[in-house]
């Protein structure tokens, strides 16, 4: 007897309380049925849910620090309540709009240029014929990811200084011999391009894994049908990794406001604060002066709320257009 039948009986019976009763029993019925079908799944979920309860939800009351004037000896509960003061301090800061703007701009630029790059690399690697060459490329391109950020930034600063390799190279095309990291409008390109340089290889790994999961039969069938490589890429390869792309894209949207401060701090300087000072770097400098948790917790909370809204929106859009959703 299917659930639909039961519901329709209830409807035909006509009275409100009658269908309500069935709805309640319906729910209990569904629970029992679900449990029967997925009993082991419930068991599987026990450690998982416990994990999140203990390590994520239990400590969550710490977010209250954002609304308090935290003093470690008093503890979180007893520290004085200041309401939205920390947030107001943040929003009314003379640089608030600038750092917000810079954060978003750097994030979006990273997204537009940096997100597709590993995908394209994966696709190109996929087209290589020589197995040895493929292995070499795969093994080398991810290396910069493992070189520490401090060293990478040291290299970047050297390359774009007034006598650096890249500056000199750009000089061939008429570019003046100036330090690129002292020009506001060059910061974002330097930042994004060096991100790609460091991360393209590592980022392509997940797409290569997705590509390896596409059945070769599909390609063979397509070749028989006379489809060329480009056609095959469009109709088989890309749709084949689309689920991966979309999931990663949605997750990325959830990190839009979180431009990490480490790289910014290693590269920026006051001459280019106008485009390089982001939320995290500004708060970091403030943290050195103030040494308090409350403010940075409040900013963190603000970031989280915005990021959360972004990911919900991205997910909703994805559900609408692609019928794929994270939840």
């Amino acid at each position: 007897m299917s659930i639909d039948n039961i519901n329709s009986i209830g409807r035909r019976a006509g009275s409100l309380s009658y269908s309500k009763k069935y709805k309640k029993e319906n729910f209990q019925y569904r629970c029992k049925k679900d449990f029967k079908k997925y009993k082991e799944v419930y068991i599987m979920l026990i450690p998982v849910i416990l994990f999140y309860l203990i390590f994520s939800y239990k400590p969550m009351y710490g977010a209250l620090i954002a609304f308090k004037e935290f003093s470690p000896a008093k503890g979180i509960i007893d520290s004085p309540w200041v309401g939205f003061k920390n947030f107001i301090d943040f929003f009314t800061d003379i640089y608030f709009w600038r750092i917000l703007q810079n954060t978003l701009w750097i994030s979006i630029s990273s997204l537009v240029w940096g997100f597709p790059a590993p995908i394209i690399l994966a696709l190109l690697i996929n087209e290589l014929k020589n197995k040895v060459f493929v292995k070499t490329v795969q093994t080398i391109t991810y290396l910069p990811y493992f070189v520490s950020l401090v060293v990478i930034c040291g290299m970047i600063k050297d390359f774009v200084s007034d006598r650096g390799v890249i500056t000199t190279f750009a000089g061939i095309f008429g570019f003046p011999a100036i330090n690129m990291l002292q020009e506001s409008n060059l910061f974002v390109p330097v930042y994004v391009i060096s991100d790609i340089w460091q991360g393209i290889g590592w980022g392509s790994i997940i797409y290569l894994a997705a590509l390896s999961g596409i059945s070769q039969d599909l390609y063979e069938a397509a070749t028989i049908d006379g489809a060329g490589r480009w056609r095959q890429t469009l109709s088989i390869t890309i749709p084949g990794i689309m689920p991966t792309i979309i999931v990663l894209l949605i997750l990325r949207m959830g990190g839009l406001l979180s431009v990490g401060f480490e790289k910014i701090i290693l590269l920026y300087n006051p001459a280019i604060y106008a485009t390089s000072d982001v939320i995290s770097s500004y708060v970091y400098r403030k943290g050195i002066l103030e040494q308090s948790w409350s403010f940075s917790t409040a900013v963190g909370l603000f970031n989280s709320v915005i990021n959360f809204i972004l990911i919900i929106t991205a997910n909703r859009l994805s559900r609408k257009f692609n019928d794929r959703s994270i939840w």
Partner: protein
């Protein structure tokens, strides 16, 4: 050998060309680090720009780094953390990914939201510290392994991979009387091997690079993981943050070169391990696995 159109031939050459350039520019930073680590620190200071070979070959920096007992012990600690950690990670993450990829599991959406919410909202360091301490994990390696047992990001990736497998497989297995644990281990898991390998790699690298939890929860230096030890060495030799008149205004540092030797020492194992995992990402691993 199929016939290639002119277009395809041009593309191939173009592709190979791009790859070669890419290989060169991505290889360079690492080569630089190797050369610098083998250089004479005095010569390195007076040099700027590209490095094509070590300047005045010497092994001083490696000697300094490797003679430090703590490095070897911390290597052991980190290995333990990685092996046990990744095992725990894969088991728990698979459980979660499997559960959340079951098509008509009625709590799917709720659990997902429950989990994703934690990606954004957290309580910060101090309550986290108390939680871990209350569980008795303070000053043990477990304080590094267990709180990192599941990464939501990796969970979502794995779940997507599980979801893309055809339903027919599971249905036929169910008819054959297989329970969920069996389906997970015998069917889903093997068929998602590439993604599982990637997730394992992400977890492994994450554990390998981690130092923060250890710096908060572990007081006994003998339990320090590799990256924490290295970080301390780096900071102790760092002259760029001079402040105040008292601090150890160090006359002669072991040199810049030690920074580079540290990078090599700490990343070499991962680099050696990676090619073994690579075979899972090769095209055509899944030939004939799924017959629709």
């Amino acid at each position: 050998m199929k016939n290639q159109t002119i277009g395809e031939k041009v593309f191939n050459i173009f592709n190979i060309g791009i790859m070669i350039i890419l290989v060169i520019i991505t290889l360079y930073p690492f080569l630089y680090v190797i050369f610098a680590s083998l250089s004479n620190p005095d010569l390195l200071i007076a040099h700027s720009g590209l490095l094509f070979a070590p300047l005045g070959f010497n092994l001083l920096s490696y000697k300094a780094v490797l003679s430090y007992d703590a490095i070897w012990r911390s290597y052991g600690n980190t290995l333990f953390i990685v092996v046990v950690g990744v095992a725990l990670n894969i088991v728990l993450t698979s459980f979660g990914a499997y559960a959340l990829s079951r098509r008509d599991f009625m709590w799917k959406k709720h659990v997902m939201l429950f989990i994703v919410f934690t990606m954004f909202f957290s309580g910060g360091l101090i309550p986290f510290f108390f939680t871990v301490k209350e569980l008795g994990m303070y000053n043990t390696l477990w304080s590094v392994i267990i709180p990192g047992a599941i990464s939501t990001f990796n969970l979502i990736i794995l779940r997507s991979a599980f979801e893309t497998l055809p339903v027919s497989l599971e249905e036929s297995a169910e008819i054959d009387g297989a329970g969920h644990f069996t389906i997970l281990s015998r069917i889903i898991f093997p068929l998602s091997l590439p993604t599982v390998a990637v997730v394992a790699l992400y977890y492994a690298v994450g554990h390998w690079n981690a130092w923060f939890n250890a710096s908060i929860f572990i007081a006994d230096r003998r339990l320090f993981p590799l990256q924490l030890v290295l970080r301390e060495i780096l900071l102790a030799n760092d002259t760029s943050s001079m402040s105040g008149s008292f601090n150890a205004d160090s006359q002669v540092q072991i040199g810049e070169t030690i920074k580079y030797a540290l990078i090599i020492v700490s990343t070499l194992p991962i680099l050696i391990a990676y090619p073994y995992l690579q075979k899972y990402f090769v095209k055509g691993t899944m030939i004939g696995a799924v017959k629709e």
